[in-house]
């Protein structure tokens, strides 16, 4: 998408949605400058005073920023207050290191440690440490942490930008942030989203020419594009996208906060899908009618092997506490297929998507499954829990799972542990289950449209060459969805859909026309889906 005549365009990843049109300002990450080291005592004093100055600057920023930003900066202040940590740096100065070198190497060590973490959250914290490192180094070099001079409304471009630098920029006139590296889960991204500043990360490299030229830049946080020195046509298209977005967002926010969604007078329940407990931190999650799908595979990915009962119970319990009285549907381990788990899934299957996966695997490994069922049975007494089995083909499998579950409950109760059998349902993702849906004694059905479409269309969904064929709106897929919904309506059993289709506004008319009245979507799609339902209900198009 790079071209000369039309101006330069680059694509990254969305970190914060929004649009900015303003002067392009390239911020250099690496501060240069040398300092001459003094005696041991002078160096120690220099660092002590730099730490005090930095601490004051950060506290001041925190006071101005308030809220979430203040909490983020508190970690930096706490680190400067950490005697164990600071003492080690002074010890290094005592051994002859100049203040800036000692400081930098201590911080770099921490940063490397955080970067090596498997946890995305910890990884993202490394940019906070880099921020602190650079601030103190700048003070030591006499820069006193010079404030960035950024014109109002600018599109700021940096390799990465630490939170405190973000806060130093005056965003009151708008503007946007384009990072060549960075991460959507970083603190800066959280701040940008909280402030409504568009932000695109992981742009990679921008050509040298672009870095110097582009007096004007267009940043589209939705499409994750950065356009430099745009042509009139690029600008026109950009403004059109911006206007559409502005209108859409204003009404989506208003609609999101309405208590319920309805379509032609019928209540539509909107749930959210979560991959892990942290997903509940999304600002829009609170507006959901409950959790339609909590995946549990993240528990299998943690270090230290398969999760014990207590670890699982705590995770389920945390979600139930968050949901309060709203329903929470937890799906038992859906391992296998494209989700191999060492020590659990079977190796060497010729066709893992048609192999021992989902409930099939759990029934084959009852010793592992029983631990999850125990944790779920204990959690069931703590809230409105429903449990569903994935990849079910025949009614016998559901009954086998139910029997294991009931045995587990009985044993727990015999030991005097509070436990109960929650409502049991199944994922409808194997075509056979959709076709024979009346044969299942399930309390509810949840259509897994991703796998259902893959199996019905005989298309591996990870195979890009099949993308044109992989159409979830194929009449055969819709037919199976409609049958399932129809059975639910006749039998008075709840039917929802939790695949990607539910989060795609283009699929909504078809899903509603199939008879679905419950959808489970990603938190980030909730506002848009609620808005689309509202539009469709009032006779409008998809907009």
């Amino acid at each position: 998408m790079q071209g000369g005549a039309t101006g330069l365009a680059f694509r990254g990843r969305t970190a914060s949605i929004g649009f900015a049109h303003g002067p392009f300002v390239r911020v250099n990450a690496g501060a240069s400058g040398e300092r001459v080291a003094g005696s041991l005592v002078e160096e120690a004093l220099a660092l002590r005073s730099a730490i005090d100055v930095a601490s004051g600057q950060i506290a001041e920023l925190a006071a101005i920023a308030g809220g979430e930003a203040a909490q983020i900066l508190e970690f930096q202040v706490a680190l400067l207050d950490d005697e164990d940590f600071i003492e080690a740096i002074f010890a290094s100065i005592g051994e002859g290191s100049p203040a800036d070198v000692a400081w930098r190497s201590a911080l770099d060590e921490q940063i490397a440690d955080y970067n090596s973490a498997e946890d995305e959250y910890l990884k993202a914290r490394s940019s906070d440490l880099a921020d602190l490192r650079d601030r103190v180094v700048a003070i030591l070099r006499g820069g006193e942490g010079q404030v960035l001079k950024i014109p109002s409304g600018a599109v700021v471009c940096a390799d990465d930008l630490p939170p405190s630098r973000f806060l130093e920029i005056d965003w009151s006139g708008g503007g946007g942030l384009a990072l060549l590296r960075g991460s959507p889960t970083s603190h800066v991204a959280m701040l940008a989203r909280a402030r409504g500043i568009p932000m695109v990360v992981q742009i990679g490299t921008i050509t040298e020419v672009a870095a110097e030229v582009g007096p004007m830049a267009l940043l589209d946080g939705e499409g994750a594009t950065l356009e430099l020195d745009p042509s009139a046509e690029q600008l026109r298209l950009f403004e059109k996208r911006r206007e559409t977005h502005r209108k859409s967002r204003a009404s989506a926010r208003a609609i999101l906060q309405r208590p319920t969604a309805s379509w032609r007078g019928e209540r539509i329940k909107l749930f959210i899908n979560i991959q892990r407990v942290e997903d509940l931190e999304h600002a829009d999650a609170q507006y959901a009618d409950g959790i339609g799908l909590m995946r549990t595979e993240f528990l299998l990915a943690e270090r230290g092997g398969l999760p014990d009962e207590e670890t699982q119970f705590q995770a389920y319990d945390a979600v139930l506490r968050w949901a309060d009285r709203r329903p929470v549907t937890i799906r038992t381990f859906d391992a296998g297929g494209d989700k191999p788990v060492p020590g659990f899934t079977q190796d060497g299957e010729a066709n893992p998507f048609l192999g021992v996966r989902g409930l099939r695997l759990c029934l084959a490994r009852p010793e592992i499954f029983a631990i999850q069922l125990r944790a779920l049975a204990r959690a069931a007494v703590r809230g409105n829990l429903k449990v569903m089995f994935p990849m079910v083909t025949s009614a016998d499998e559901l009954e086998a799972g139910r029997k294991l579950f009931a045995d587990v409950v009985q044993r727990l109760q015999a030991d005097g542990i509070a436990a109960m059998l929650p409502e049991l349902g199944i994922m409808v993702e194997v075509p056979a289950a959709a076709l024979a849906v009346t044969s299942f004694r399930a309390a509810f059905f949840s259509i897994g449209s991703n796998d259902l479409a893959q199996y019905v269309l005989a298309c591996d969904r990870s195979n890009g060459a099949l993308a044109p064929l992989m159409d979830p709106l194929h009449p055969a897929v819709l037919e199976l969805i409609a049958r399932t919904a129809e059975h639910g309506r006749r039998a008075g059993i709840s039917v929802s859909l939790c695949g990607d289709m539910a989060s795609d506004p283009r699929c909504l008319p078809a899903l509603l026309n199939c008879g679905l009245r419950e959808l489970s979507v990603n938190s980030s799609a909730l506002a848009q889906i609620k808005q689309t339902i509202d539009r469709l209900s009032s006779g409008g198009g998809l907009g």
Binding site: Q71, A78, D113, R125, T311, A318
Partner: protein, 100 residues
């Protein structure tokens, strides 16, 4: 949850219920609270060999205590008993915003 051990050492065990484990915000709250006490306070994830200074945010973060892990606390000094009780309470109540 509190056991009085020999002499002046007080100990406690508490499960970390915080959804994302001992990350930046809980770690800052824990060290801030620990610093309010004179006592020498150490913590570790159950099963770990080394005790960690509860007043060092860098070390608490490096502990990488995950959601659901058990945190052991020990303290010695004049206000050790109160310190252990306060930290246990902080972790049990899932690091509320107001810690008085």
């Amino acid at each position: 949850m509190l056991d009085k051990a020999d002499g002046q050492i007080f100990t406690g065990n508490v499960r970390l219920v915080h959804a994302v484990g001992m990350h930046a915000r809980p770690a800052v709250k824990l060290t801030k609270l620990a610093k309010k006490f004179q006592a020498q306070i150490s913590v570790r994830v159950a099963g770990a060999t080394d005790w960690i200074n509860a007043k060092s945010v860098a070390k608490i973060m490096a502990m990488r205590a995950a959601h659901g892990s058990t945190i052991e606390i020990k303290a010695s000094g004049s206000d050790a008993e109160a310190a252990v009780a306060a930290l246990v309470n902080l972790i049990t109540t899932d690091f509320p915003d107001e810690v008085s």
